[in-house]
Amino acid sequence: MGTQSTGWSGRGGAAGDYGLMRAAFAGTGTSFTEFLADYNPEYLPGRRAASLGASTGTLPFDPPHGTTIVALTFPGGVVMAGDRRATAGNVIASREIQKVFPADDYSCVGIAGVAGLAVEMVRLFQVELEHYEKIEGTTLSLDGKANRLATMIRGNLGLAMQGLAVVPLYAGYDLESCEGRIFSYDPVGGQYEEHGFHSVGSGSVYARGALKKIYRADFDATGAVTAAIQALYDAADDDSATGGPDLTRRIFPVVGVATEDGYRRLSETEVAELVQEVVDARLRRPDGPNAPLR
């Protein structure tokens, strides 16, 4: 199959499309990733391990890393939020990177780890879900989608061994069980369902600590979003790679909510309002809300 790809100019146009159409016509199955791997494996993230100089250890450069993602469930849905910082070593590579993305109509994915690979993997995951839906005429179950993501992480194992790990957090509204659910992954593709709340990335230790103290199982959506913003604030407070809310540039965390009405990214204004409340409260008590001792 690999030879077919060399016949394709890769520049589009009718002539270029024909080689691709022939491959598409010969293709079977419902997985876009598998089709692309057959057509030209070079197009997949994680299949370029060989061209990166094999397993000689550390890379000669420090690619930008995305940092902290938090997710928590509330009755009727799930919230996911991510800070906006990407770091390359001690340099801030980006102040406004987006790390939380819609995966399909009912779920979202947030990614910590090597930003370039992560963003590419998210795009592939989005196409994968839509592709299945179009080919099969029906959507995958939430567990099915979570498993597809695990397979894609496993495909990245070669690069993870060289230090280019991608660690996603997947959350969505399960239309069958009618609840929000969270799945976490490790760099080799292990998949774990989390209950209540979870966090990944360099600031996740602090974010999870914060959520442990402020999480309530009976949050409404606004309460859950506020808790997510509090947790990110705590992560940014103690982890230099996590960005806090940038009030001067008006850059706020990306927050998404998935409920039975589908996934929705909160608007800048909605997030700004809640961030302002959190920051105002921190002016009075910099360490954030006080959890009762007993």
Binding site: G12, D17, A24, F25, E130, H131, K134
Partner: protein, 288 residues
């Protein structure tokens, strides 16, 4: 050792074309037409699962007549092509023209390939533009030619009769309800016993739109159940209701019995016609 007789290329192509035309003539028709808010697909199809009309990409829809397993192969190939292009470049770089050309080359080569049998399928690829004048409708017959259509196009068994009916009834830029009823009336005029007009109920129709005004990037939407019935019967407010976002509820409705229990006014004649039609398409075993 077998003796091979000389067959002239003209005769060979004619035999193949006759074979395909004969088989497509036994299948139900599909109308694709412009309405003021996008592109409407109306197919005669009793199955809720084996679609003749489908989504290919954000703004691109697919309609087919002929043999199910063959046009289903073609549809899946189109989805793979579109998704690959969209992933490698950008979602905006997937166009109906590119897709139509790729289909044309594929069908053309299948048609003329020695050994294999030609595909018994005729396709329509339609793209809804940002503005009405950017809408595109391409018909790709079994031999791999491409025809660009304005306003409406019909494929399938009764294509000529339905086209003739539409030529006298279709006016430019109808509303959704008017376009739907025009298309259904044209379909109903053909296929009856001795040219009589049939009654087509919602359960015999597969209807979808590429809705220009839809907020999401994916403009394709099926019209099902109550929405469809209300539109067909020209109930007041039906168009507004159909434009309300019923994306996910439509998906659910597809599987729920509620969607299929629309008012059923089948007369036995049309039932038998449909059964024949299904029989024609149903012989999807073997050839693949």
């Amino acid at each position: 050792m077998s003796t091979s007789f000389y067959v002239s290329p003209e005769q060979l192509m004619k035999d193949r074309a006759d074979f395909v035309r004969k088989n497509i003539a036994r299948t139900g028709s599909v109308v694709v037409l412009n309405y003021d808010g996008g592109i409407l697909f109306v197919a005669e199809n009793r199955s809720r699962v084996l679609h003749k009309v489908s989504e290919i990409y954000d703004r691109i829809g697919f309609a087919a007549a002929g043999k199910y397993n063959e046009f289903e192969n073609l549809r899946q190939a189109g989805v793979r092509l579109a998704d690959t292009r969209g992933y490698l470049y950008d979602r905006r770089d997937v166009t109906a023209l590119g897709l139509a050309n790729a289909y044309a080359q594929l069908l053309g080569s299948i048609f003329s390939e020695a050994g294999g049998k030609p595909y018994e399928a005729e396709l329509v690829i339609a793209e809804v533009g940002e503005r009405a004048e950017q809408d595109q409708i391409y018909r790709i017959p079994y031999d791999g030619s491409v025809v660009d259509h304005r306003g409406f196009v019909v494929i399938g068994g009764a294509a000529d009769a339905v086209t003739a009916a539409l030529e006298s009834t279709y006016t430019e830029g109808p509303s959704l309800g008017v376009a739907l009823r025009t298309a259904v009336a044209a379909l109903a005029q053909s296929g009856g016993n001795g040219g009589e007009t049939r009654e087509l109920s919602p359960a015999q129709l597969e209807v979808a739109v590429l809705d220009r005004e839809r907020q999401q990037p994916r403009k394709f939407r099926r019209l099902l159940g109550a929405h469809l019935t209300a539109l067909l019967e020209d109930e007041p407010g039906a168009e507004e209701a159909a434009f309300e976002e019923n994306g996910e509820s439509a998906e659910e409705a597809a599987g729920s019995p509620a969607a299929e229990s629309g008012p059923d006014e089948l007369d036995t004649n049309s039932l038998i016609d449909e059964a024949l039609d299904e029989g024609g398409e149903g012989e999807s075993t073997g050839d693949n």
